[in-house]
């Protein structure tokens, strides 16, 4: 068992192999291996107005893994997701592996969405079939049924006709998850999906995340809650503009690493 990227990308190769092995160890039942096509970052930097937000990031997200990105405010977590989603310019390289641009689902922070818009939950969720229906094609009966099912699976049964501006933050997030379900994305990027969301919604949505990962989707989420990360996310990237640590969650979230993170951020504020 080897990673095909071992020879394809020289810099990310070593890490990639390590990550794939790590994943195979943690999910022995799935038995991936030869098909492993990770999302690879190579010397990735993002600069806003000459201000470096992310500095020389190297590494890979193996497919089918659940990775948490965590770190202090201003560490570049959201920016990294935006770079992966193709929403900001960057230096260096991002190799999406076998994921194409339209197979990415991206949920921005909840306050970035327009919740005053007068469309129904059903309409919002059906946007998830953009990759099938496009701007003009007809929604088939089967597709409409799928929309209903996704709404049910996220616990919004009975809300299909509700306008989204009448939903709570938790219900709105559920609807966005339902949309992501239909998108059938291989790479799912979530920016603080559980901030401003109630406990039972968080629990339901975490279940959905685990389900996605079990079916081979790569999930990357920016999170703050350490308990959630320890419990659900096998992999963690600790970010402080540069990579502080990246790997198994228990090995990354050590007191030593967290202290280092704080030091790096404090130093950068001084300079």
């Amino acid at each position: 068992m080897f990673c095909p990227y071992e020879w394809k990308i020289p810099i990310g190769a070593e890490r990639c192999l390590a990550y794939c092995r790590g994943r195979i160890n943690s999910y022995p039942a799935l038995g991936f291996g030869p098909t492993c096509m990770p999302v690879t970052l190579e010397n990735l930097s993002v600069v806003y107005d000459r201000d470096p937000v992310i500095c020389r990031l190297d590494g890979a997200f193996a497919d089918g893994t659940l990775t948490a990105i965590t770190g202090p405010n201003g560490a570049g977590k959201s920016t990294l997701l935006k770079a992966l989603a193709g929403l900001v310019d960057y230096e260096g390289a991002i190799d999406l592996g076998n994921v194409t641009q339209s197979e990415i689902a991206y949920l921005p922070q909840i306050h970035e969405s327009d919740k005053t818009f007068s469309i129904s939950v059903f309409d919002l969720v059906s946007m998830g079939y953009w990759h099938k229906a496009g701007p003009f094609k007809k929604f088939t009966a089967a597709m409409l049924l799928d929309v209903e099912k996704a709404i049910e699976k996220t616990g919004l049964k009975g809300f299909a006709d509700s306008a989204i501006n009448t939903l709570s933050a938790g219900q709105f997030q559920r609807a966005l998850f339902a949309r992501a379900m239909l998108q059938d994305a291989k790479l799912i990027l979530l920016d603080e999906p559980f901030s401003a969301v109630d406990v039972s919604t968080t629990k339901d949505l975490l279940n959905i995340l685990e389900g996605w990962s079990a079916t081979g989707k790569t999930v990357i989420a920016v999170l703050h809650e350490m308990d959630q990360i320890h419990e659900i996310f096998p992999e963690t990237l600790l970010l402080a503009r540069e990579c502080v640590a990246w790997g198994k969650t228990a090995e990354v979230l050590t007191n030593e690493n967290l202290a280092r993170t704080r030091n790096i951020m404090a130093m950068e504020i001084v300079t």
Partner: protein, 289 residues
Amino acid sequence: MIHHLLISPFSDQQMLRALVACLALSIGFAPIGIILIMRRMSLIGDSLSHAILPGTALGYVSAGAMSVGLMTIGGIVTGLLVVFFSTLVTRNTSQKEDTSFASFYVISTAIGIILIRLKGGDEEVVHMLFGDAESIDNATLFLVMAAASFGLTVFAIIYRPLIIECFDPVFMRVSGARGGLYHHIFLGLAVISLVAGFRALGTLMAMGLMLLPAASARFWVNSIGKILLVSIAIAAVSSVGGLLISYYTHVPSGAAIVLVAGGFYLVSIAAGNNEGLRKKLLKSRRLHG
């Protein structure tokens, strides 16, 4: 008595043409007004309505009279030019869309006013800015109806991508869809509609019949389909009311129509059951009482 006051004015050919034109505009304007409000672009819509002035004025100056064809083409050209330059500034500088649109529209309004005054008098200026229902001839009426039909058809065709682009442009970008294309088609439609409306309503007032009914409707209903129907109804009633006021008092038709629509807006703010003042009062009473 009522028939005499409200119906008989429209037996006049001129009034009837104005009425049909305004009703067609009520229908054609509704979808555009809704999108402008939903996308928080009311100000940009306003800028567009000013942007068409120098073009129409140029048409007026060069033709020496109110020539529908030249004024229409001129209006569309300058409207689209302002969209083009504003987008250029927004994309390539740090300035936001509303600032660049506002800057270009004051420039074009100034040019427009000067051009009209070069050829005509105060009356022409007033007619250009505030509308002149009596100037609507068959050619203008045909133009208005064609523009409204064209606008509605295109709107229906691009409805899905346009609504998604308005609601969640980031989703469109990540999905690899060309959201910006639909946004620009929409701005083009807005320009064409505003040009179609300026004879009856004036370049300053056309925006009123586009925005006020949609803004009012939002206080009553909460889905795009329903907002569309309610705003068409409000616009139609405002048109009839405004034309009658203009008929009896000889004030410019555009201003009269917009004033009636403005009345609907004020009533909707106070009495509307969807996010209006009434709901807020009820809520605070429930909290305190």
